[in-house]
Every structure is written in C-alpha cells, then in structure tokens.
C-alpha cells in the first residue's frame, strides 16, 4: 500500500531503549523496526508497560533511543541538535497528551494560539488559525473559557486543536482517551479520525482499549517492547 518512492512519515530501525531504575535495567523497547506510512490513522496497541509511550516519545523527537535510528518525515532525528530538534517539533509534530496538558492560565483559544507564535509572527493570523482549529474540533463559542471551565472531553478537544492548528505532518496522541469516559473517548477518536481523513496528516495514537484499537487503519501491537503484529483494516500489512 505504500509506494516504494514515498518517504514514510516515520521510520524506526533497530531501536533499543531501556531505563535505569536504581540498580535495575528496565528494557522498554527491544529491537523495533517499523515504517509508518504517510496519511494513515494508526494505533500503537498493547498492555500497560509494553513500551507504547516510549515509542511515541521517540517518534515525537522528545526522547532518544539507546540504539537504532529514528527518521521523521525523512529527517534523521539523531542528526539534529537540541534546538534544531525543538524547532523541528514545533513545525512537524503535534502532541495530544493523556492529561490534556493545557496551560491553566490560558483560555481555550490562547492555548491553541500560544505555540503558533513559534511559527507565525502575525498575531491576527495566529488568532484566525487558532479559531478555525477550535471550530474544527467543535468548540465554537467556548474560545474564551479557561481549561478549568471545560469538561474533560472539551479540554482534550482543545488539545487536539492545539496539535492540529499548525498543520503538522505527524500527530501523536499517547493514550488520549485514558482520562475520558468510554463515550467521550470514542467521540474523541472519531473526531481525530475525521480530521485525519480531512487533512491527510499521519496520526498515531496509543491505547490499550481493544475497541478503540479496532478503529485505526494500521495497528501495531507491542508486547514487552517488541512488535508482535502489524495489521491493517481489512488485512495484514
């Protein structure tokens, strides 16, 4: 399904990552090779502790592997210095976090607009980008509310708007529904899915909920830091 010439959205080769917990070595990822095709709504599935977050952190260029290489959007991440990597994230990667991670003193629209200042100097244009992103996630009319005045589902939609407003190539969401009730979580995944089809961006979220995992086009199964299966909607990759 992926043409040989197109660079994948992300490419992992021989990835190893372990944490030190006092005297103990905790392996998190043990030899991951993975190509994430462009414009696909994918999921990293697996039980708690299987390495999903670690994998997403590597894809998001906020962590580095002990061994192996990470390419995002054709860029070898290891070749970038800290500041370059930060700028790369600002432009190419959108994050949605499990705990929403909104800035509590900023209103919904300010939360979306704030990171845009890294890319867009024109304030009115930033405001417009933020407003249309909020409309896209269905929060019209709630722009001026502080996060504390929003429900969990609304907060996570603000976070989705924040991740999407800059139109990144890659959107990463680490267990975005973990703090939402079933229905709200499903609604959020549907929303992300809709936006993904509309924008053609590459979405990767992680989940341990089989129902939500089933929603994705590409499903990567992790167990104990290893990929045990990759399957696509209606067939195996």
């Amino acid at each position: 399904m992926v043409s040989a010439t197109a660079t994948p959205a992300a490419q992992l080769r021989g990835i190893h990552k372990h944490y030190r917990l006092g005297e103990v070595d905790v392996p998190a990822l043990c030899g991951i090779d993975l190509d994430l095709p462009r414009g696909v709504f994918s999921v990293i599935g697996g039980p708690s502790g299987s390495g999903k977050s670690t994998l997403l952190n590597l894809l998001g260029c906020i962590d580095a592997p002990d061994a192996g290489s990470v390419d995002v959007d054709g860029q070898a991440v290891a070749a970038l210095g800290d500041t370059q990597r930060t700028r790369f994230r600002a432009r190419h990667v959108g994050f949605v976090f499990q705990n929403f991670n909104l800035i509590p003193v900023l209103t919904a629209i300010e939360n979306v607009e704030y990171p845009l200042r890294l890319l867009e100097d024109n304030a009115p244009r930033r405001r417009d980008m933020a407003r249309s992103a909020l409309i896209e996630v269905g929060l019209e009319g709630l722009e001026d509310r502080l996060p504390s005045a929003l429900s969990g589902g609304q907060r996570q939609r603000v976070a989705v708007a924040r991740a999407l407003a800059k139109r990144p190539a890659l959107v990463l969401a680490d267990e975005p529904t973990a703090n939402l009730d079933q229905a709200t979580g499903r609604g959020l995944i549907d929303l992300m899915r809709r936006i993904q089809s509309a924008t053609g961006a590459t979405f990767v979220f992680s989940s341990h909920d089989p129902q939500l995992i089933a929603e994705a086009d590409l499903r990567v199964h992790l167990v104990d830091g290893r990929v045990t299966a990759i399957d696509t909607r209606g067939g195996n990759a």
Binding site: I62, T86, R87, R89, A90, F97, N101, E113
Partner: protein, 463 residues
C-alpha cells in the same frame, strides 16, 4: 496575549506567595526610597547650613588653613578691600555672587576680669550686614528660614559668644542665662586643707561677680597677640550667648564685628583679613567661579589660594560619607532580601510547573523560551513590587513633608526640616526600580535555567 500578560497571570496563580514576594520587594524599595529621600534632604539641609556659614569658596593666603590661626598677621590678606571690589565688579562673577565678604580669624584670651575669670577663645570677625545675607542663603530653595545673626550692623562693639564660654566666664547671671550648669562647690577631699583666711579668699574669687556693665550691657575683655607679638586688648559687649553644637566650639567661639577683631589683632597697624568668603547664588557655579577667581587672584600676583567649602569644612563630606555608607548598607540588605524572595518565588513556580515546562518543550518551545518565561515572571515581580513600594514611599514622604518634622543634625544647633525629598535626586526612584528589576532577573535566572534544562520526557511525567 503577550509575554508580560502571561507572566502576570502566572503570578496571580499563587496569590499568597506572590503577595508575600511583592511585599518583601515593596518594603525594600519603600525603605530605600524613604531613607534615600531623607538622606537627600539631610544633605541639602547640611549643604545649605554649610554654605550659610562658610560660603562656597574662600580666598586665603597659602598656608593660612594650617598655620593662620597662630600667625594671623603673616597669613593675612592686606589689600583685601581692593580684591573684594574686584570680585564684586567682575563681569562674569557679579551676577553669580550672593555675598563676597572678608573675615578675620583671631584667637586669644577672653576675660571677665571683674570676676577674675578668663578662658581661651577663638573668634571670627565678620561684616555684620554681609553675615546676615550669608545666613539667609537658600540656593537650593528649601524654604529654610534664615539663620539668626545676632551681630548688628550699627553696633561696632557688640559680639556673640558661645554658651559654654559664657559659662566659663561666669556670665550666666549677668546675661540672665537660665540653662547654665552650676559649678560644683569645691570639697575638702578635692583640695588640701587651707587656712581659713585663704579659704575665705578663695570663696570670694570663685563666686562670680557680675561684670561691670557699660550702657547697661555686659562686656568682656578680649586679649590677642598682634603680629609683632605685643598684646592688644579690646572690650566687646556680649549681645548674646549662643549654644554651639560642638562642645569645643561652644567653649571658645566668639563672633564679632570685623573692625573690632582687626583692632584686636592689628591695633593701629594696617588692618587685614584672614579670608575672603565667596557665597554663590547657585551651587552649580562653583567650578567656573573658582576658575574665574583664580584668574583674578593670579593677576594680582599675591600667593593666594581658592579653597572650597569641602576643604574649609571637612565635616560636611564626613557627614555625607556617613549617610552614604548607611544608605548603601540598607540598600545592600534590601537587595539581598529582594534577591532571595524572588529566587524563592520563581524556584517554587518552576517546581510547581514541571509538567507545563515539559509540555511547552514538547510543543516546540526552546530552552531560551522557557528561561524567558520565568525570568519575565521574576522581572515582573520586581517591577510591580518596587513600584508599589515606591508609591507607598512617595505617599509617606509627602505626608512627612506636609507635617513638617525637624531635627538637629550632628554638630549643629539650628534644627533643619526632616524633609524626605524623594524627587530631589531623580536617580533615587529610577535606580531603585531599575536595580530591583535587574536583581529580580538575576535571581530568576538560576531557577529558570533549571526549568530550561529539564528532560522533556521526565518533566512530562509530572503533568
């Protein structure tokens, strides 16, 4: 939504802590400005007092300052009247001059010989009318009332003496001074037993008798050595006995009309003066005036030097130095308080917002952006705190100035207004606010660096 706005919202996030920090900074700025304003006022008050007493510049024979007291003749200026005229009529100086007046220093022995009492004195002969003008100097426009000058222009024999000297000469009853100390009676233990007739004699001489009064005035004899070494004696009527701030002066000081002093020193010989005092209208003219006077003096060819009041009256600089030292010490303490309170506030803000820091870093904010966020918060704390403290200080200063408190600085008898002139030195308010902001940035720097250096993944775990 700009950076300052964001910083302000974050400051408001923990109101209690921010209020405490602002209070610490505010109290510091308040103290610095209030005390600084008081120092400015005090210095201006002392300056005015000093200029009233000694003028801005004095022209003297070289060596007079060191040796003149013992050699009034040798270090005197003889052709002083011509020089005074030259200065008064100089095109450049004339509009800038308040007073040009000659003075003569003299020392010798003052006696209330009727009572058999005498004591050393140190006197200054002045032109009473000029003296009166000098003592009214208010070039800094402090609104300070003229200092009283008891010498009278039309009283060639009337002088003023220190309260202590009056006491030493046993003049208290005659001058009807009420606050004189009583001399303790000599006790047997103090002195060897005397024959009764000698004791009776001693009692008689020790108890001061009122001096002879001329025209109903109390007079004393002043004795000084002339340049040739022969003693001259003059009689001076005591118009007043004035308390001096320094005991040594109080016990010796005499102010008298210049001709009387000259008569005492020079007798029938050519009169001279010790010094020509130049008082300027404006302090700022001191240096150009000095230059001009030096030119005039040099033209005359006499070995004269032009000394400013700093040299004539070293206590002025000493008092300013003391206030400066206290001010710097207070400023240092307050700076340290501000430094620590801002550092603490920002440090706690960083600790509370680790998750937020991780989030911002993940979203693409660079380390320098994170540093800027926290330094801005620190700077804003400094700005708001110091402005609040400044406003409070200005308010209190205005109140103090309106109420009109006075105090008597060291070495003075005349009370001066305890003004708090917070606007007197424009640097005071500006520097206090600017330095506080600078210090706040410095104290925010370390915690902000800690924030910027955090591992993103690690920080995100706290979200």
């Amino acid at each position: 939504m700009n950076s300052l706005n964001l910083a302000w919202r974050n400051i408001l996030r923990n109101r209690r802590r921010s209020l405490l920090t602002l209070a610490a900074i505010g109290v510091g700025s308040f103290a610095i400005i209030l005390f600084g304003g008081q120092v400015v006022s005090t210095i201006r008050g002392l300056y005015t007092e000093t200029i009233r007493a000694a003028g801005h510049l004095q022209i003297q024979q070289k060596g007079h300052l060191e040796f003149g007291r013992a050699n009034p003749g040798r270090f005197a200026i003889y052709n002083y009247e011509a020089l005074v005229d030259q200065l008064r009529n100089d095109e450049y100086l004339a509009p800038r001059l308040a007073v040009v007046t000659p003075i003569l220093h003299v020392q010798g022995v003052a006696g209330n010989f009727d009572a058999g009492m005498s004591s050393a004195f140190s006197g200054q002969g002045v032109v009473p009318a000029d003296q009166k003008t000098m003592l009214a100097w208010d070039g800094l426009r402090l609104g300070q009332a003229p200092t009283a000058s008891p010498l009278l222009p039309d009283d060639p024999n009337g002088g003023v003496i220190g309260r202590g000297l009056a006491q030493l000469l046993g003049l208290c009853p005659a001058l009807a001074l009420t606050d004189c100390a009583q001399m303790p009676p000599e006790t047997i233990a103090d002195a060897a037993p005397l024959p009764t007739d000698v004791a009776a004699l001693a009692e008689k001489t020790a108890s001061p008798t009122a001096p002879e009064k001329h025209n109903g005035r109390v007079g004393i004899e002043l004795l000084a050595a002339s340049p040739s070494g022969a003693p001259n004696v003059v009689r001076m009527d005591v118009l007043a006995a004035e308390r001096q701030g320094v005991r040594e002066l109080d016990n010796v000081l005499i102010g008298l009309p210049l001709p009387l002093a000259q008569k005492m020193v020079f007798g029938a010989a050519t009169p001279a003066v010790s010094s020509i005092v130049v008082q300027l209208k404006h302090a700022g003219d001191l240096e150009p005036a000095r230059t001009r006077i030096q030119e005039i003096v040099a033209r005359n060819g006499a070995p004269l030097e032009v000394l400013d009041f700093h040299v004539i009256n070293p206590t002025f600089d000493q008092i300013i130095g003391m206030f400066g030292a206290i001010f710097r010490f207070i400023a240092l303490l307050m700076s340290i308080v501000a430094l620590f309170s801002v550092a603490n506030a920002v440090n706690m803000a960083v600790s509370e917002r680790v998750g937020e820091i991780g989030t911002l870093r993940a979203l693409g904010f660079e380390r320098r952006h994170i540093r800027a966020i926290f330094v801005t918060e620190g700077a804003l704390l400094g700005l708001v705190g110091s402005i609040a403290g400044s406003l409070a200080a200005v308010a209190l200063a205005t109140w103090i100035n309106r109420v009109g408190v006075t105090w008597t600085p060291p070495g003075r008898t005349a009370p001066v207004a305890l003004g708090v002139d917070v606007f007197g030195d424009s640097r005071l308010l500006l520097l206090t606010v600017a330095v506080t902001i600078g210090l706040a940035c410095v104290s925010a720097w370390l915690p902000s660096r800690r924030a910027a250096r955090m591992e993103i993944v690690e920080a995100l775990r706290h979200a």
